[in-house]
Assembly symmetry: C2
Homo-oligomer: 305 residues x 2
């Protein structure tokens, strides 16, 4: 869809899974590594990048609330989504054998996603947490560590000259991470292909608000693909809604809803008008083409970028 | 409520946060350490323990789907809940100063919850992931490691003879973990104090089922405290529902709902009868007294067990 000149900011170093998500969403893009998610947001806000990639949920770990908080504190728009099967490899320097290893380093999440498999492989290693998966591979290569392996992508092996000691070492083969693509401006929603719209809303009190909101969708035959309540008792965060900028508000609950309709459709516009009537805070995070790739168990083919 | 003889299984070693949750729910209970969550379930099923403690959600990390999966694969009942503020300490052997440290060890989740604070403390350390927080403290004590600190509870410091180098090092002071207590038999629901009921339901297809289910609660003025959709496309898990034992079923979505009513109330019974009409899978995980402790920022007072 987009040309090779598109600059996409992601958290991590080359070989990171977020980079793979960027490549799936925008083939031939120029992926820009950032050391934090916040920096990726800023890169887009300051026109250093055109898009940012953000992981928002994992089928085993659930929604990443801290990344939803970032969406709410910034004004970027979701313009796309990508689902990637979680597929980890065990990487080491060429010539290193499993028996030589005394430690495995990776992102804490990746370490825990491979816990049982590492044990089954008969590895007697300490597990060390570092900031990102691909960064772990880079660290081994730069320091010529022959007693250490990294859990990272096959692409990280290629980039940093490591060999793959074991492929597909995640404990659960059906685990999938969902990423969203962010831009300064919303895309023009269309109706010629399946679109999804993500909203966040809140109300101060009242038990039937959620029911009223869902009726706005149900009576228009709009399917929901995600609904989640987020208790928010103590942390009035600086929410940016569609009307006001930067008002810090306090809500007992926030709700995240994704529905299968494009904002170009009249039924979606009408539904949202109704939702706005019932809620004290509403923000459309974005209306964007659905990732229609079937959710199949990880087979590593996502690394052929 | 329960006497000193109650045996409560938890994942981890003494000083673990799950042990603190057990102590909050059942003062003077005998807490039984288990090396895995699955083992804690089995301890109750085999009458080795009377209760099990399970963390199910965290206000920053979200729902722990893999622990919900355990609930669905077993037949235990939720009989209570406890909310604990996340409060971490940096522990080392007596006499060890911050400047001596070369590494910090803890559970991956705890390491990531203290990431920024560790940096702010000016520590130049590697972070190593181990199976649990209190286990990290025990490891330092047993091996007399003077270059290593653990992230764990104040109680772990006490138990393993370590000193607290820094108190309250979690990055976010409003972060709370919710635990549920499990038993072989449900408790008799009452109406003389606030109760909460947790259910899981699924349907094969049809967009308006969720709306119908919520109407069953809304029309009876029953508030929801949690609602969450769980995509489940590829993993038909062996669900245990209220009618059948161990039928493996495949659903595109599961929904988790907690509502503020006791199953002793006629309105709750009627609501569930209606929910059963609309869904193809329904299970009541439990009806139990609500934890009414106010959600205040962590101040460490939960460690005075």
């Amino acid at each position: 869809m987009h040309g090779s000149q598109l600059r996409v900011a992601y958290q991590g170093v080359p070989g990171a899974y977020s980079e793979a998500a960027a490549g799936k969403a925008y083939p031939n893009c120029e992926a820009i590594p950032c050391d934090q998610f916040e920096v990726a947001f800023q890169a887009v806000e300051l026109w250093i990048a055109d898009r940012a990639v953000l992981p928002v949920e994992n089928s085993l770990g659930g929604s990443i609330h801290r990344n939803y908080d970032l969406l709410l504190r910034h004004r970027l728009h979701i313009v796309g989504e990508v689902q990637l099967p979680v597929h980890h490899c065990l990487l080491a320097l060429p010539g290193v054998r499993k028996e030589y290893l005394t430690r495995v380093i990776s992102h804490p999440q990746a370490l825990s996603q491979c816990e049982h498999t590492l044990t089954k492989l008969g590895l007697n290693v300490t597990r060390e947490a570092v900031d990102d998966t691909a960064g772990a591979a880079e660290y081994i290569a730069n320091n010529n560590l022959r007693d250490t392996a990294a859990i990272a992508s096959a692409r990280a092996a290629e980039l940093y000259g490591l060999q793959i000691l074991a492929d597909g070492i995640q404990d659960d083969s059906g685990n999938v991470t969902r990423f969203v693509m962010l831009a300064r401006d919303p895309i023009i929603p269309r109706t010629d292909r399946p679109f999804k719209t993500s909203i966040v809303f809140a109300h101060d009190k009242g038990t039937s608000v959620l029911f009223k909101v869902l009726s706005a969708f149900a009576f228009r035959n709009i399917s929901l693909t995600k609904i989640e309540s987020r208790p928010h008792r103590n942390r009035p965060i600086r929410l940016v809604d569609d009307a006001n900028v930067g008002t810090a508000k306090h809500f007992e609950y926030l709700f995240y809803v994704d529905f299968e309709a494009s904002m170009a459709e009249v039924r979606a516009q009408n539904a949202l008008a109704e939702v706005q009537e019932f809620t004290s805070f509403l923000r459309v995070l974005g209306s964007y083409p659905m990732d229609m790739t079937p959710w199949s168990p990880s087979r590593g083919d996502e690394h052929s970028l």
